[in-house]
Every structure is written in structure tokens, then in C-alpha cells.
Subunit: 531 residues, 2 copies
């Protein structure tokens, strides 16, 4: 990267090697954040007419407990007989599984089951289905929409002990593993074998690959390697009634009938429990560069994106952004210092390629052009792993910084890329001084904005100002009210802002077909009332 | 490309610029091929026990006509009222829609409907469903498994007049169009706007994008841009009962509920009629190179593939092969001359990148290494479009050459890449001199073999020697008996070789949920008897 640096210093703005501390990516365990006092995330009564015909407005009240059976001593005896030592009922041990990472949703489950095999998952579900016991499948519990914790007393079915790599084909790069493998562990396993996982996200230290697939996680590499719908080649799934569906293929192509695994990708554990996955992994790049740039306007940021796509082409692997408000929170709450001069917008660009010299030359040419055209005003580049991680942390730790800023209202919006920041500006104007902070960051390359609004404490009046404004704004522009986080418990009733009632009805039919008693992850993903 | 050439001639083998005639890719219309005399593709009685429990063996007889209503004069009057001038009943005009491209399946439909709008498709299906009239949705009719023509008297519902581009976003590269757009026309439209379609296949001059999506077409660019499951962002689909499902999103990310469009991708028109699609398109590469290489052994071909993946990395866009038998057929039947010296195996490699100098250097380094290591023995490169097309035609016109060689038994197999040619060798040994030609070609990068066996005429004894041998061989290695062609009419009963009875049962449930009367493309995709 020396060449980039040497040439860059001749330009009107100075590119500096990153000096930020090489903090590793956010570890999600042992979070110190306080728990919100509400039992449920405070979704709001909305009486407006939705754009979709016949759709009911989202409800304010939490869903009522459905008439599932309550766990009895006999049930516990059964679970202990098949999972000796792995049937957890100690309230202290259950605590972390009953509460989501954001501490915004708390269930009251009294039993946590930790199967090790698909056969055990099958036994558990067959039993629960016959007894009408509700089940909350749980991976790393890193979800942001309350989808990974029980709402009432659902039995928690954890994949934590299903963490074995089953096979790896070094020719094709296809890995097959149990659902409970932690993403970061899988990444390390693959990197030792000259491959990488096609997805990467801030929660990688805790999240499970099964949960990633169940929520169709997006993350930082989607721009380059596409979604899990393309890279997941096979799944093994246990149905609500205990039947095991083996679609654990390891083939790039297979057009023999309907692609059933797609039903379970992104269904948030409501249609079946994913027990194993096979994933097509890209080769480990021989050269990785990360650039942190400053921009004066969002318009220039978009122009930089377009220039970047043209000039970096096939080596572009991420194009992320954060605004100056995010930087302020990183400075204030996490003591992370800005590696460049203050700007309204910051960009994180990652390149990954097979030839360090070519990549370096492409990157330099792009930076040269971007600075000559005054699209960016300052920047720094990193090629060493620790410095790359440090630059990435400026983007990845925004979520953590927000939790220190107060109660956070989180939105994960998909829009045509040219519109994504307009929502932040409109929201700021709309809220005036009612919010403490209104910040925007996210995946420019995917048209995915993370809009976050904080206040000193939970504030129903503020929420009433945010919603349905944010959803209506998005729906009017045919955006998605959940780009990558899913709907879970918190957003289930907002589905009609992005999907027609026809579509939601069909989703309900699919749910009924696969889980007629509705025992799998109840109160999640689908709205309380199907229209 | 001069640099590659100049350096290459110093190496022990000579790389020559391609001299083959610049024949354009195979046009599928006006095919001169004769029609097989059989009414149906001769599937064979198979009494063996399949590996899947409870699965019945594939049946020899064609499926019996199901008790659908026969079209009456009143029905025609109705169709003429909503599609004046576009309700075709002239047998001569119906001829080409009743027969598949391979001339291996012939239906006897008496009416062809040519709607122009989604509303018209909806009206047609609502009417047909209420009258219990069976419908065969038809795109470009280029399928190879008898999925795109009627089996009996099903009404043919053609998308040929639904050929409008609805929108194109030049920032995101997302195109939205009606289902009847011809792939090549779409490609041209996009190339004029500096983008390309993420899929390309030999039938591009005739096939419709709706048919591509309905069959989850693979083709030549899958290695680089992934499958349609990732690149198709939205669909509009009309259900059997005429309801319209609008999932025509133009967002890269949308996790609001189940991804319904996936149900229809690859379902071969049996679950709904696709009327519009939106597709995420890659930027048009600034530099494209095609290399045609010769290899002495398949082992060396695989080593060349591995070397190529490492050295060409992100610019590799296709890695295809054909064997010497394919070359013989190209020479004999199409008078295409071998652009290099005779070899047992030929490779077509395409690179696509953003920097011509970098691509050229990567390609040269790779060729240098491949020849120094004696992995390839001869080769030629092309950078000009006409020469690129000429080299590609050596791979793409194998299908056409085969039709001149006699009656062709076609197999489209997915396997771990290291096994794909072993099937050709084993089949040759197994058949001895009973076949005229046994040839192998296909997509090495995807582990997808096209195995084709010819004989002077239809030969039940030969077929009995091929099947179930080919399916058992594939199933024993956990391969797929249809990588990209689908199951259609011809292979519907072989599904159990690649899918469990559990999976097929669920497919049947999905079919019943979406098309309870079974009017959509009957006798296709699913087996005659669900177990």
C-alpha cells in the first residue's frame, strides 16, 4: 500500500495510515447494557390506513399468550431422559437466553434444551408438537428484532452444542456444518484452509450460522458475494412434528423439483429448525485493503460510490458509510478517535483481490480520481490486518456506541440508494429537538440504511413521532421496512408496509402447512392477524 | 491481448489468435431437425429399488390424460372476447408451439393464447381454473426436458407478446421487465446502458426471461454472477385462480417475511405464471478475454481449473469444457474447424474485468504457469468480439452438432467436479459399441456435466442400457440428475434419485396449496405418484 500512500500525499488532501487503536470487532457476549424496563418493546397503536387494501394497522398491545400447554414435571422428566445434563432449568442459567442482546425483550421460559444432534432435535420437536408445547429456536441470540428469545414461556431450543464442522471440500470450497457453529469460528476454520465465509457481520463472535441462515443475514460482504439465498447450497431442517428434511446438498446446481431450502432461509425459525447447512465459500483473497474516507455531502458520497464501482470493479467488496453523528457517538462513548479530519460523512471501502499490485494500482487510481474531483476531502488506508480491523471498527461499533447514548429506536431500511440519507434528514427535521440523536449509517452498496434514534429514556411520545412516519416514508418509496434484520417480534405487525395482503396470506398458508399447531417461534415474523 | 500472444509464443506450445469463423451463437428458431416419431419421450420401466425409501420406480408409460375439461366453442368465444386476434386456433400456427425444440415431445393443443398484460393472464387463468381447463405456460420453448409444450390438449399460454422493459435504474443496474422479453434483447438493451444480464446461455436468441426464471436457468455466467436465486430481486406471478402476487421489488435486501418469489423460481410453471421480473444486473466489463486451450488428460484439466481460480481470481467468468468427441461432431456436422491442435480435452475460459491491462497480465501469468507446468498443450486467445463469439461457438454449438449425429439421449448431471468426467468414461465402457457417440461437455466451474449419447435412431435397448445406470451412478455419488435443465415431462419420475420422499411429499403439498385443481403445467416436474 506504500504506493498509494506515497502518491496520495501529493494530492490536495492527505491520506494517512490509520492510527486508530486496533480494537477488535465487537464481542457481543457479556454486554454491560442495562435492560429496558418494559416487558415488551413498545410497539405503537396505528390507526392509519395502510397502503395495502384490507390490512389492519399495527397493534399497540403485545400479542396475547396463545393456548399452548405449560411445561409440567413430566415434560421435564422426558427432556432429561433424552438430554441428560443438557436440560437447563436453573433460572440464573436461563437468564441470558430469556433476554435479547439489546435487552429490549424478555421472555419467561423455564427450560432451555441443548441438543447435540439432529436426532435429538427431532425427538424434542415430535414430543413438543404432540404435547402442544411452544418452542423458541435460539442460535447466538444476537438478533435485533426480538426474534431469538421467548415471548412467554416457550421452551428454548438452543443450537449452541451443535457446533461441529461435518465436512469441507477443499476443491469446491463447500463447507457442511451443524447449525450452532459460531460464524467467527467457521471463518477461522476456513481461513486456515485458504477460503472465507461469504458473509461477515459485527455479531460474528457470537452468532450461529444456523441463525444467520434462519434470518437471511446480510452483513458486510453481501455487495461482493451476494445473499445466502445463493451461497447456501443445502440445509437440514427439522419440521415442527419432528420429521427431518434432508436437503443438505453440496452441489452448485440442482434443479430437481422445488428448492425447498429457500422456504427456511429467512423464515426466522417459524417453519422449521435448521440443524445443518452447507455453504459455498469464496477463496481467501490474496490482498485486502480498507480505505476510510471523508465526504462533504451525501451527493458526493454517492458519486464516490459510482466512481468506485466503475474503477474498483470486481475487487470492490464493501462500501459502507456513517455520518458525523455516528462519529460523535464513537468519540464520546467508546473513546474511538476519528482517524481523519472531521467531515459530514465517512466511507469505509474494502477491496479484496487476487493480485496485490493490481489491487493497489486500482485503488490508487480511484483515490486519485476521487480526490482530484473533490468528491472526498480526506482519507486513510490500511493493509495490515490490525489496522484494517481498527478501521472497520469505526463502522462496526456504531451499534455499540448507540447503546451508550440512551434508549435506542432502531430501523433497518432498504431503499433505492440515492434516497437512503434523505430519510435521516427528513426524520431529523420531523423530530426537531425531541430526540437526543438521529444517526444514519449502513451499507451503501446494498441501499441499506440503519437509522437509529436515541432519547435519554424510553419515550412513548417520541416513538409516536417516529412511527408510523418512518414506515410510511419507506412504503411510499417502495422500500423495505426490514432490509436484513427480519421482523421477529418487534416488527411483525408492520409487514403490510412492505408486503401485499395477498403475499402475507400466502405466508400464513405456508406456516399452516408446515406447522399447523403453530408451536415454532410463535408471535414472530407473521402479523397477529392475517388479513 | 498482444502481450499475451507475444509472450506465449516463446513458450513451448503456441498460442494462436483464433481463426475460426465468427459464427454467431446458435439461433434456435427455424430449426431444421426432424421430429422424433414417438408421441412421448420414451421413458423406461424401472423396477429397481430406489435408494429412497418408499419411492416407486419411474414408470414406462406416459402419464394418462387427467380429467380436465376439453376446450369448447364457448371457451374459444370467451378467449376471443378478451384476446381479439390473439386467440390462435389455426393448426399450422399452433404447430411450433406444440412441439419442443428437440422435436422429442409433441402435444395436441388446439388453442394458443397470446396475452399482452398481467391483467389478461389473470383473466385467462381465473376462467381456466373455474372451468377446469389445463394450461401450459410457454416462453421461448427452448427447454430440453419437455416442460414447455403441452402433453395433451392443454391451452398454451404464451408470454411472447409480453416483451416490454418496464423500468431500468441506471444507478443500481436493476431492470424490471415483462416475462416475455427475449434474453438476447434484454442483453442488448442493457449493454447499451453499460450493464449486462447476469445470465447467458446458448438459447439466448429465443428464450424468454420468464422461462429462464421459471426453470432457474444456469448457463455460462453462473460461476461468476451466481444463480437467479440471488440476482432475481422481484417477481410478479399469477396464481392458478387468477390472483396476482406482486413481489416485484427492486431492492437488494428485503427481509419482511418469507421470500415467496423463491417458490416460483425453478418451479417450471407448475405453481404460477411469472408475468414480470426484476433482475440485478452487473456492470458491463471493460475487458473480456476468451481462451481456448487443449489438455492431455482430465486430471490436467482439473489442475488447470484450480490454477485458474487462484491466478485469475475475481476476473474468471467462465470455465467450460468439451471432449474430443464433441470436437469431432463439430467438425463433422457443422464444419467448424478446431482452432488449435487435436487434444483429448478442450477448455473455454472467459475473463471479464474492469482493467484491460490487469486482466491481460493476470491471464498471461496464468497461461505461462499452465504451460510451464505442462497442464495445457496448446491454446488460442481472443479479445475481439467476433473472435470471442467464434471461440464460444465451439462450446455452445455442441448441442446443435449432436442433433445431426442421430437420436440423442441427453443427461444434465451435477456432481463434485472431480467426478464429472468419470461418468462419461464409465458410460462409454458400460455401453461398448451400442452407442454411436458418447460425449461429455459442460460447466466445469459448476460441477455440471452434459452427457449426451447418440444412436442412428431411437433405440429402446440402448436406452435400457443407459437408464437407470446413469441415475444410479449419479445418486450413489449424491449428485443431481438435473443440474440446470429441470425435470419437465421427461424426468419427472426420476426425482427420487436426487430428492428424498419427504422432500417430494412437501413439494406435492406446495403444489396442492397453490394450484389445488392442478391446472398449471400438468404432468411436469412432480412425479406421477407422490409417495
Amino acid at each position: 500500500m506504500a504506493r498509494i500512500f506515497q502518491k496520495a500525499i501529493q494530492l490536495k488532501s492527505t491520506l494517512r495510515y490509520t492510527q486508530v487503536s486496533s480494537t477488535h470487532r465487537l464481542a457481543l457476549t457479556n454486554s454491560p447494557f442495562t435492560i429496558a424496563t418494559s416487558h415488551f418493546y413498545p410497539s405503537r397503536c396505528n390507526t392509519r390506513n395502510l397502503t395495502t387494501k384490507n390490512a389492519e394497522g399495527p397493534k399497540s398491545s403485545p400479542p396475547e399468550r396463545l393456548p399452548f400447554t405449560r411445561v409440567t414435571k413430566e415434560d421435564l422428566d422426558f427432556f432429561r431422559s433424552i438430554l441428560p445434563g443438557r436440560t437447563i432449568t436453573d433460572p440464573d442459567l436461563l437468564e441470558s437466553s430469556n433476554v435479547d442482546w439489546l435487552k429490549s425483550v424478555r421472555g419467561s421460559s423455564e427450560v432451555l434444551l441443548r441438543p447435540q444432534t439432529t436426532a435429538e432435535v427431532s425427538q424434542i420437536l415430535r414430543y413438543c408438537n404432540s404435547r402442544n408445547l411452544a418452542v423458541n429456536p435460539q442460535g447466538g441470540n444476537t438478533g435485533l428484532v426480538g426474534g431469538s428469545v421467548p415471548v412467554y414461556d416457550e421452551i428454548i431450543l438452543s443450537t449452541a452444542l451443535m457446533n461441529k464442522v461435518l465436512s469441507f471440500d477443499h476443491v469446491s470450497g463447500i463447507v457442511t456444518c451443524q447449525a450452532g457453529c459460531v460464524l467467527e469460528s467457521l471463518s477461522q476454520y476456513l481461513e486456515e484452509r485458504d477460503y472465507i465465509m461469504p458473509l461477515d457481520l459485527g455479531a460474528k463472535g457470537s452468532c450461529h450460522i444456523g441463525g444467520n441462515v434462519a434470518t437471511n443475514a446480510g452483513g458486510l460482504r453481501l455487495l461482493r458475494y451476494g445473499s445466502l439465498r445463493g451461497t447456501v447450497l443445502g440445509l437440514e431442517v427439522v419440521f415442527a412434528d419432528g420429521r427431518v428434511l434432508d436437503c443438505l446438498a453440496t452441489l452448485r446446481k440442482d434443479n430437481t423439483g422445488y428448492d425447498l431450502k429457500q422456504l427456511f432461509i429467512g423464515s426466522e425459525g417459524t417453519l422449521g429448525v435448521i440443524t445443518a447447512v452447507s455453504v459455498l465459500c469464496p477463496r481467501k483473497p490474496k490482498s485486502v485493503n480498507v480505505v476510510f474516507l471523508g465526504c462533504g455531502t451525501f451527493e458526493n458520497l454517492l458519486k464516490t460510490f459510482q466512481l468506485c464501482r466503475g474503477m474498483l470493479g470486481e475487487i470492490l467488496s464493501a462500501f459502507e458509510f456513517l455520518d458525523s453523528e455516528c462519529m460523535r457517538l464513537l468519540n464520546t462513548h467508546l473513546k474511538l478517535s476519528n482517524p481523519i479530519s472531521d467531515c459530514p460523512f465517512y466511507i469505509v471501502i474494502e477491496t479484496a483481490g487476487s493480485d496485490p499490485n493490481h489491487d493497489s494500482e486500482k485503488l490508487h487510481n480511484f483515490l486519485d480520481e476521487a480526490m482530484n474531483a473533490a468528491l472526498v476531502t480526506d482519507g486513510t488506508v490500511a493493509t495490515e490486518e490490525s489496522k484494517i480491523k481498527a478501521l472497520w471498527s469505526m463502522r462496526e461499533r456504531v451499534t455499540e456506541a448507540l447503546t451508550h447514548d440512551g434508549f435506542t429506536y432502531k430501523y433497518d431500511i432498504s431503499l433505492p440508494v440515492e434516497l437512503i440519507y434523505r430519510l435521516v434528514l427528513d426524520m431529523r427535521q420531523h423530530l426537531g429537538d425531541r430526540a437526543r440523536s438521529v444517526v444514519g449509517y449502513g451499507h451503501v452498496g446494498d441501499g441499506n440504511l440503519h437509522l437509529n434514534i436515541t432519547s435519554p429514556a424510553k419515550d412513548p411520545a417520541l416513538l409516536a413521532a417516529i412511527e408510523p412516519f418512518v414506515y410510511e416514508w419507506t412504503a411510499q418509496r417502495r422500500g423495505s421496512i426490514s432490509a436484513e434484520h427480519g421482523l421477529g417480534l418487534k416488527k411483525r405487525n408492520y409487514i403490510y408496509y412492505s408486503k401485499s395482503s395477498q403475499a402475507v396470506t400466502l405466508m400464513g398458508d405456508i406456516k399452516h402447512m408446515l406447522d399447523p399447531k403453530g408451536i415454532l417461534n410463535p408471535y414472530k415474523t407473521l402479523p397477529d392477524h392475517l388479513t
